[in-house]
């Protein structure tokens, strides 16, 4: 702003009278002044004398009043404001334009601010989009809040299990008035043939009323009827809308047609409405063909989903379900001991595993946003000291404090708005990458996107952010004393030699939050390292796996199944690229993880409620070698263990330790209580003990388990594991073998075992990666902020430092002094960060494996790393401070 030229006295007097009479404030007041000044200058240039110009001008007071009126009219029309008192708090378009000009005047500085806000707001928006899609967006069904999931809960241990027996589901539905509908379901897959290449498709077996539960009606045809849900019921299927569109081209005549599922013709009785996919990805729904006589209350394989009655609440339903569970426990003491019911909101049940991680990540990115705000506030405080003269000049021209504050708030809002806009773009494009990294176990990823809720969230974030980072600097600037600022040539001195509580506070906040994030990611890193170095109990190197499911229509008897898999394994073993081959029902880290009850027939049965139970798997003789599971005692299965020979079983080390403590289990008899296709089980002799392996999840300790031989049980569903020779890949040849044996048999889930393990680490890796990015960002921002603070302190104290050095102070003592001032608030930040991290540590418990959330090593490392960054960031400007030339500084001053 160039200082205005001074006009002769009478004309200055006229101008003063006009603006005083007008009552206008900055910036309107300045505009009027400028116009009048130009007017008089033009008059002088035209050759008129001051007296004549003043005489021609007319009554200045009347003009002032007219001006006020004119502006007021303008205000009413345009929402403008410039009159003291009445409209002092309004925001004008002019303010916005002015703010834009201010931003353009310092492009580099404002680019840093907008960039920082873009990162903060963009990250927050992207993370919120995920949380919104997964946790918040209502489920895509009518009245979704009334949907509930029901599971069992152990009254003694609190353990929850989600698989229920059909009789229990039936009793609950019959007796609970608070549940309008309740249906059981279980995901399954089928081989679709007769429609081109055989294809494995996912679907669900349901008991009854699934569509009623979800309050949807089939787009065509009807739902499955209860009478169809018997072992000998008709083979019927309801297909998904997508399946109908893709396979049948929306043909309305599809009802009554048949599809071949696992070689059996199923009549299509209905088409689900568009968008209905429950569970996720289901392409068809079949009756569960419930065999209540063969598979009663002990047969727990169904998940349960229900709908609350219109007047019922979740708590009410829980109370009622608990009472029903007690009655069932009394009536069926052999099967229902210690089995309470747990009623949860369906949404909560579906996301309960993902929720803690998502909330921690959202919290973390909000911390990054706070750090970004603190950084921007710091930058604005620095700029503030350079703008004091400009603000003081505006004050001197009549701008009130409110007026200036509004102008600054508009500037800040504009910065935040630009940061928000770019942040939204960042979120929009970053979301794609985020979703690619997301583990497939995260539900509802297809519903994640930038929608109105996300836009509203971003808008609120921008508003909040502009207040958070902008208010303190704006408030301080608006309170700048005019005379002092003008006298000091634009560099307002702060009290206390550069010590500034507001800046220190920002620094404390940044350091504390950064430390918390750094600690979080440190803990996740250590946890991830432990998890990925867990010994799964098997050797996954060079192990390929695939699954085959023999359709019962083509392979009717267990003997045929046994024969097929023996023949297949024989042919695969003959391949030169294959070292070992074996098969298993219930492969490691797969969806099939069966446990079964058993009796020790050589000792008295345990009391009710303490029945013995362990993992139960069917294997072929080559399985243990193919997986590298060591034999600890006794022998493996051989070809000699067949239907006609003594029934045998191999147990794991934990099984032996748990059920035969201090004894040799080999030679002991047990009777597995598994009802399967072959004739009634007879006691099996334990022939060997093998090493433990992790089947459920890498993070879960191996449970006791027992293996039975395929040749004595017969399963039509086996996962074949193949240990390849080094540097070979036998899968193509194996595919050919299977095609030659049965061209209608597709290979399912063809994967390398190492990939399976890698995928099982997906959620942990996702959490680690995101928290790592957030904490890295936080530390960089904090370092930049700290650097800024120290550089600022130095600039404020350069004169003092110069005097000290001129008087003989040494460079090191100057460094110590400047460093000390920066590090003191940083240490407070570290202390607060440690306390905050400790207080919030339990939030991380669910995400950690093998370490406590208060792991001292992580605390030490994170604190040490942050202190290093603090000292590093502060040292640069401090070192510069120690090298100043005292005389040059003093001359400049």
């Amino acid at each position: 702003m160039s200082p205005p030229a001074q006009l002769p006295g009478p004309m200055e007097g006229v101008i003063r009278k006009v603006v005083e009479a007008s009552g206008l404030e900055y910036p309107e007041r300045a505009e009027v002044e400028e116009d009048l000044r130009a007017h008089f200058e033009d008059g002088v240039r035209a050759g008129l004398g001051p007296e004549e110009l003043v005489a021609r001008f007319g009554d200045p007071s009347a003009l002032g009043r007219e001006m006020a009126k004119a502006y007021r009219r303008k205000t009413l029309r345009n929402g403008n404001s410039g009159i003291r008192g009445r409209t002092g708090m309004g925001v004008t378009w002019q303010d916005v334009r002015f703010a834009f000009r201010q931003i353009r005047r310092r492009p580099g500085f404002n680019a840093v601010i907008i960039g920082t806000l873009t990162l903060g707001i963009g990250g927050t928006t992207a993370m919120f989009s995920v949380v919104n899609g997964v946790l918040l967006k209502p489920l895509p069904y009518p009245d979704p809040d009334r949907l509930v999931a029901v599971g069992y809960v152990s009254n003694s241990t609190g353990t929850v299990s989600t698989r229920l027996s059909q009789p229990d589901i039936q009793d609950l539905q019959d007796q609970a008035s608070s549940l309008r509908y309740l249906s059981g379901y279980s995901s399954t897959n089928r081989t679709l043939t007769g429609e081109g290449d055989p294809e494995v498709i996912w679907g669900t077996q349901v008991t009854q009323g699934l569509f009623e539960t979800f309050a949807v009606t089939p787009a065509l045809g009807r739902d499955i009827r209860p009478e169809e849900n018997t072992p000998d019921g008709p083979r019927v299927v309801v297909i998904s809308h997508a399946f109908w569109v893709n396979r049948f081209g929306r043909n309305p005549e599809v009802i009554g047609r048949t599809v071949l599922l696992d070689g059996t013709a199923h009549e299509i009785i209905g088409v689900a409405p568009a968008g209905f996919e429950f569970p996720r990805g289901a392409q068809f729904w079949l009756p569960a063909y419930l065999d209540l006589e063969g598979c009663g209350r002990e047969c727990r394989f169904l998940l349960a989903v229900g709908r609350l009655s219109s007047d019922a609440t979740l708590d009410g339903a829980q109370t009622e379900a608990t009472a029903i569970a007690s009655r069932l426990e009394e009536t069926y003491s052999d099967s229902n001991i210690d089995r309470g019911f747990l009623v949860m909101a369906q949404r909560a049940a579906e996301v309960q595993e993902s929720r803690p991680a998502l909330l921690v990540l959202l919290g973390s990115v909000l911390m990054v946003l706070l750090i970004a705000c603190a950084n921007v506030a710091n930058l604005l405080l620095v700029r503030g000291t350079n703008r004091t003269r400009e603000i003081a000049l505006r004050s001197a021209l009549g701008a009130g404090r409110a007026r200036i504050l509004i102008q600054l708030v508009v500037e800040n809002a504009l910065l935040a708005g630009l940061g928000g806009g770019f942040g939204l773009l960042l979120a929009f494009f970053g979301l794609g990458a985020l979703l690619k990294l997301a583990p497939s176990s995260l539900p509802y990823l297809d519903r994640v996107g930038v929608d109105w809720t996300v836009l509203l969230f971003t808008f609120c974030t921008v508003c909040l952010v502009s207040v958070l980072f902008g208010f303190a600097p704006a408030w301080r600037l608006a309170r700048t004393p005019i005379s002092g600022a003008l006298k000091e040539g634009g560099r307002a001195r702060l009290k206390g030699g550069g010590r500034d509580p507001a800046r220190s506070l920002m620094l404390i906040v940044e350091v504390a939050l950064s430390l918390m994030l750094l600690l979080g990611s440190g803990l996740l890193l250590r946890s991830f390292t432990r998890l990925s170095s867990v010994d799964p109990g098997f050797n996954s190197e060079r192990v390929h796996r695939f699954t085959l499911s023999l359709p019962e229509a083509a392979y009717e008897t267990p003997e045929e199944w046994i024969g097929f898999f023996e023949s297949l394994e024989g042919r695969i073993a003959a391949l030169p690229d294959v070292r070992f081959v074996g098969g298993i029902f219930g492969a490691p880290l797969s969806a099939v993880n069966v446990s079964a009850g058993f009796e020790q027939t050589d000792r008295p049965p345990p009391p009710p409620g303490q029945e013995l139970r362990a993992g139960w798997r069917i294997v072929t003789p080559g399985y243990f070698e193919a997986m590298g599971i060591p034999l600890l005692q006794g022998r493996w299965f051989t070809q000699q263990d067949h239907l006609g020979s003594q029934r045998v079983v191999v147990v794991t080390q934990r099984f032996a330790e748990r059920f035969y403590p201090g004894e040799d289990p080999v030679g002991k008899p047990i009777l597995p209580q598994v009802r399967i296709s072959l004739p009634e089980e007879t006691p099996r002799i334990i022939i060997g003990v093998v090493g433990d392996a992790r089947y459920g999840a890498l993070g879960a300790p191996p449970a006791p388990a027992h293996y039975v031989p395929q040749s004595q049980v017969g399963s039509n569903y086996l996962t074949i594991v193949v240990k390849a020779m080094p540097g070979t890949s036998p899968m193509l040849a194996i595919g050919e073998i299977v095609r030659n044996m049965d061209p209608d048999l597709p290979l399912r889930d063809v994967e390398e075992m190492t990939t399976v393990i890698d995928q099982s680490l997906g959620p942990a890796r996702f959490n680690l990666l995101l928290l790592g990015i957030f904490s890295g960002l936080a530390v960089v921002l904090a370092a930049v902020g700290l650097y800024g603070v120290v550089a600022y302190m130095f600039s404020q104290r350069s004169r003092e430092i110069a005097i000290r050095m001129a008087l003989g102070a040494r460079g090191e003592s100057v460094i110590r002094m400047v460093l000390g001032q920066a590090i003191r608030p940083a240490l407070v930040g570290v202390a607060l960060g440690l306390a905050g991290a400790f207080a919030g540590s339990r939030l991380l418990t669910a995400l950690l494996y093998g370490i406590a959330p208060t792991d001292p090593a992580s605390y030490l490392c994170a604190t040490g790393l942050l202190l290093l960054v603090v000292v590093g960031a502060a040292s640069l400007p401090a070192t510069r401070a120690s090298r100043i030339a005292p005389m040059r500084v003093l001359k400049q001053e």
């Binding site: 130009a38 200058e41 008059g43 007319g58 029309r77």
Partner: protein, 114 residues
């Protein structure tokens, strides 16, 4: 002869817009032009023109742009907007109607003579 206040109030905005129809002008230039081109009839106190201009700006009939005048100084130039042009046209026809009515009463010369 100078016009009375009430007459000026009606005529001044029209005169200002009429002048701005040909080219954009800054404040002092406008004051001078009014005086000169109306033969002194519409000359107004310099202080009167600024509220008038602010009013016209508020109503959207004129807009401003600051640029360098031939004198080398930065000046705020006023120019007619589309809205202002339409309003001017309407007002001109109103004046013509008024003058034609007055001339029929023998109070003014024929419309073509003004």
């Amino acid at each position: 002869m100078k016009l009375e206040r009430e007459w000026m109030r009606g005529a001044a905005p029209l005169a200002v817009l009429n002048l701005l129809e040909d080219r954009e002008m800054y404040g002092y230039e406008l004051v001078e032009a009014l005086d000169r081109e109306s033969g002194g009839i519409l000359a107004m106190g310099h202080s009167t023109v600024y509220p008038l201009l602010y009013n016209l700006e508020g109503r959207g009939y004129v807009e401003t742009k600051t640029r360098t005048a031939p004198s080398g100084r930065r000046r705020k130039y006023y120019r007619l907007t589309k809205k202002g042009r339409a309003w001017l046209k309407r007002q001109q026809s109103q004046w013509e109607t008024l003058v034609s009515g007055l001339s029929r009463l023998g109070l003014a010369p024929g419309a073509g003579e003004i």
